[in-house]
Symmetry: D2
Subunit: 339 residues, 4 copies
């Protein structure tokens, strides 16, 4: 930390700050500039709170120097983390596609979609059984019956299963069925849920909240690693801005940034990020071009009949085209996508 004093700070003010720093078990280093004095802290600043210094007299600003996250950082671990979703590796050279309907609606819908996406090269089936909905009057998901249909789809196709878990006391149930447990954007900072997930032996797909900063996103992942679960896949799914032509603003820039700062894999969700089926194709290509380790795409046999998110689903018969479209991009950057 660097403490910047106000121009009018006296020797006595400086001494008060230095005394406080020593009392906190750290050392102080004073630099007197032409306009202001600044005081550097030597030692692990993460042990203290900035208010302990910021509220002292004549302190103008306290600037943290160290990053607040540790276990998720590249400095902590140099090599990319490979996350195994029941044998399917995410974070390696192969780009992994997850696909399926927003919501599990019935056996026919989920099985036929599973067959389609499997035949096109997807490795993981998505489908919601517990759904967070804006309206109390909207369908809230099939619950455990939905999970059972996902298991059936897995048995038929061999696809791995990713599905959302919404509360800590449902983690055990969902973990029985799912190979990858999704934390939805609205729950990114649900710390009780994160803690419970940090104790299980299954990987977690952590979606970025639509107003999360980079720091908050990485700190949410830090909860999982700090609790003992380092099998974490991050997911960018759009942020909230003033922009009116997409449901959210797909912030692809975070992908190369995460790749620099963290060893965790990151995938992209063009369906939720754009909210428009005709943008999924170009933005899937862009996601891969800038380094995403995978995609998660909403696919529905008949989007106009979907109980949710039909607007942003790819029709099953167009999904093959999407997969064919992204493969040359993967090749162009020296990566692969399964056929």
């Amino acid at each position: 930390m660097v403490i910047v004093l106000q121009p009018k700070a006296t020797e006595n003010d400086i001494e008060i700050v230095v005394a406080k720093i020593k009392q906190l078990g750290l050392e102080a280093h004073i630099s007197k500039g032409t306009e202001r004095t600044i005081i550097g802290i030597i030692g692990d600043e993460r042990k203290i709170q900035r208010e302990q210094l910021a509220l002292l007299p004549k302190v103008e600003n306290v600037i943290p120097i160290l990053k607040p996250y540790k276990l998720v950082s590249r400095e902590f671990r140099k090599e990319n983390t490979l996350v195994s979703v029941d044998g399917v590796n995410v974070g390696g050279n192969e780009i992994v596609v997850m696909a399926g309907p927003c919501t599990v609606e019935n056996e026919e819908q989920i099985l036929s979609t599973a067959e389609t996406v499997k035949s096109c090269g997807a490795k993981i089936l998505r489908g919601g059984a517990f759904k967070p909905r804006t309206s109390p009057y909207a369908f809230q998901g099939m619950g455990e019956d939905g999970l059972k249909l996902l298991r059936k789809a897995k048995e038929k196709t061999g696809l791995k299963i990713v599905t959302e878990v919404m509360e800590s006391n449902e983690v055990e149930l969902v973990a029985e069925y799912a190979d990858l447990l999704q934390v939805g954007a609205r729950n990114m900072q649900n710390t009780k849920l994160l803690r419970t997930l940090s104790k299980i032996r299954k990987p977690v797909l952590l979606k970025r909240n639509f107003s999360a900063t980079l720091m908050e996103f990485l700190m949410a992942a830090e909860y999982l690693l700090a609790g003992g679960n380092d099998q974490v896949i991050l997911c960018e799914r759009g942020i909230r801005t003033f922009v009116e032509y997409t449901r959210n603003t797909f912030d692809l820039n975070i992908i190369p940034v995460i790749k620099q700062l963290s060893h965790l894999p990151i995938i992209a969700d063009p369906s939720h990020a754009t909210g428009k089926s005709d943008l999924i194709m170009p933005m899937s290509r862009a996601s891969i071009a800038c380094g995403a380790d995978g995609l998660i795409i909403e696919v529905h046999p008949k989007p106009e009949n979907a109980v949710s998110d039909g607007d942003q689903s790819v029709r099953a018969d167009k999904f093959a085209q999407l997969m064919n479209d992204i493969r040359p991009i993967a090749t162009a950057i020296g990566r692969t996508i399964a056929i």
Copy 2:
């Protein structure tokens, strides 16, 4: 709903849309303009999903006409709702001030703060026992021990208690101690928590998520009313924008807007909204001037020693000044604040 067709839509395309509307149990009304045909729906559009029409051929746009919320709206209930917090009414002519530390830290801290804020005119004591923290390494609250200290403070001072509940399976526990249960900004759309709270006989303080639209905010309240609990107080606590000089952007504009659209009371939280203790005074005045039914303010005996949010806490000895400062504003608009 109004369905706007593309300029190139044919008679046949129009018929397909009309047939779909009829199939959904509603009636269609066709207007052929000079450039586009639009089709109005007669009947309750809330029963259908916009994708059912938006994905039909040659449909350019589907525009909802009715608001998605019902029970929270002024149209549903003309008079202001009065929420009784164990006898303290929020939503009437008197402006109610809630005050106390971010986190309950120990008996001395909470009792002394309670005495102070009580003596200045606050009616409700705030204090966190279960804390949602960005960092897994930060203090997460005293839990039930904190709740017990809050009860002790109530016994000593007569102040009512507001405290946060973070998960549906803790609702019962927190409801034993609290007079008003707070849903934090990060949990505004935690639908399981909202559902559980909709079934209890205690009032709820629902804080706006920092990226919630007006519609999402009111729909979260609708969860509570739809489940049977109409004792709901809304709270504005800042939104996330590009602005760099406040922790969030305090969006006071929502206060008169909510007053127009809903019968529920709304209070303001200048501490979280601005994140700076020296902005709390002017923005408290502004909150009352534009119609807030109350304030919730962080007060701490020694902010520089607070375990959390010291930056945005008012020092206990300055709280009296704040209360004296806002009373003339209340008087100016014909309302009162207790002494």
Copy 3:
């Protein structure tokens, strides 16, 4: 400036940075922490560019300590600046109201509005002669004819005149008629216009761009003061956010912040900020409650016939009510508004 080095920086890397700092005519101060070395700069950092240091090897971050603005700061000038608009002082104890139509439309409209707002206590008449419009097909203002009508209104009522100037080569013309020259939000960073205005002997009303940070806003004012014109009134008129129920998000928080950091007066524009006539009253009260030195309000005899911005105009016959509504707020904080 503080230069933070990467953990892997060697003695040699440190020497390179120090050498560069000395070459730039400044002194370096090294602090070796447990994880990182930081280097403080002694001397006026405003003389150098951060890239000169940020791009050196093993430099992780360069953090500026000094604020980039100087003449507009409270540190430069302790007392509030009083801006005289042809004898009407802005920035003193009296709150000054500016009012009038968005656009000057014809003689009858501007004269009748001027009489009305004058009789209610407004001191300055607003009205656009040169209009920046989003659409090329919209009315772009009466030009000099509009300015002449404003002069006639001044002669009849004694109101001072504020009107927008859009380009540097029109400054001379507009300055002939106006007592206060407005720089619109879209032109806040039009540096040629700011330079030209910095050389004239008339005061300037500088509106905040709807995506300007505090720093950018103050730096735009710094252009005016640096060129020699310190008669500058700032104006908050809403920022662009995700929020959907107001035209912009009225960011009142900047008012007390500016009061701390700068000696310049700041007024508020609830008409443009909210875009809704029924929000102008409560948000005018809030503006004054948090410290605004004045208001600028759109008033039109018949808003439904206005050629622009009718939505956000107060009907002339309701303006008296607005003025009566804000006076008790001014009184409550020890200020006055003319009758």
Copy 4:
């Protein structure tokens, strides 16, 4: 337009709206729903202002149906517009790269950069002679001397020249030297500048303002086309959001959206959008993958000595690598980049 009436609207209220519509020369079409009556307008709604109807009694909302832009739309012109920059076509199958320093600093700098970027496949040289700077104390560009150096670079290399023009009265001067006149982000809605540029015989590069909506961006282009200049290239260069790790948020999503709605070419500026040289490479790939017709990239021989924007410049010797990196992406989508 569709006018939505309040639930309590009477027959008389409906008649008032219908009468107003007829008075405006249009026809009304009434649909009585179960909760609200809506009235559709038949005729060209662009002729009227929404306030003319929105402010009538009992009107709840007025929803525009037609888009406000016309000449820039795909409906107006089906085929892609090809913009010729002195013979270099933008908007065709070939992706065009523009590159060069932020600011023209001296002859050696601009000539050596020109040689480098030319040898790597760039077709157009960028370089600022008139610079809009946030600070009045920063270098504001070489002016006409800078333009002369750009001409010299053109003579030596054959590269075409793009440079910014900041005011209408400088258009003539800049047009003498430039092959493509850039309107900077801050001037996107400088209507006088747009009007002047609409009358010249040279193409215009219109950069999106960092808080412009899609509609505002297209309406700014509409100014150019409406005035007679249809040689317009759009450019995405980042929007302002809460995000902290990039200078702006590069909003690539607008690229496929513009391609759907407009016939104009659009290029991407990863330098300004991200503000970080190590993000330029991945985001350049992403830009091309989602359909950009070109790139504009800041290249400097020694970014650490650049007078501006060194942080976001690619070092000249790494530019070849960037070009080699994006070519396979162009190939993957069936387009080309010159060698």
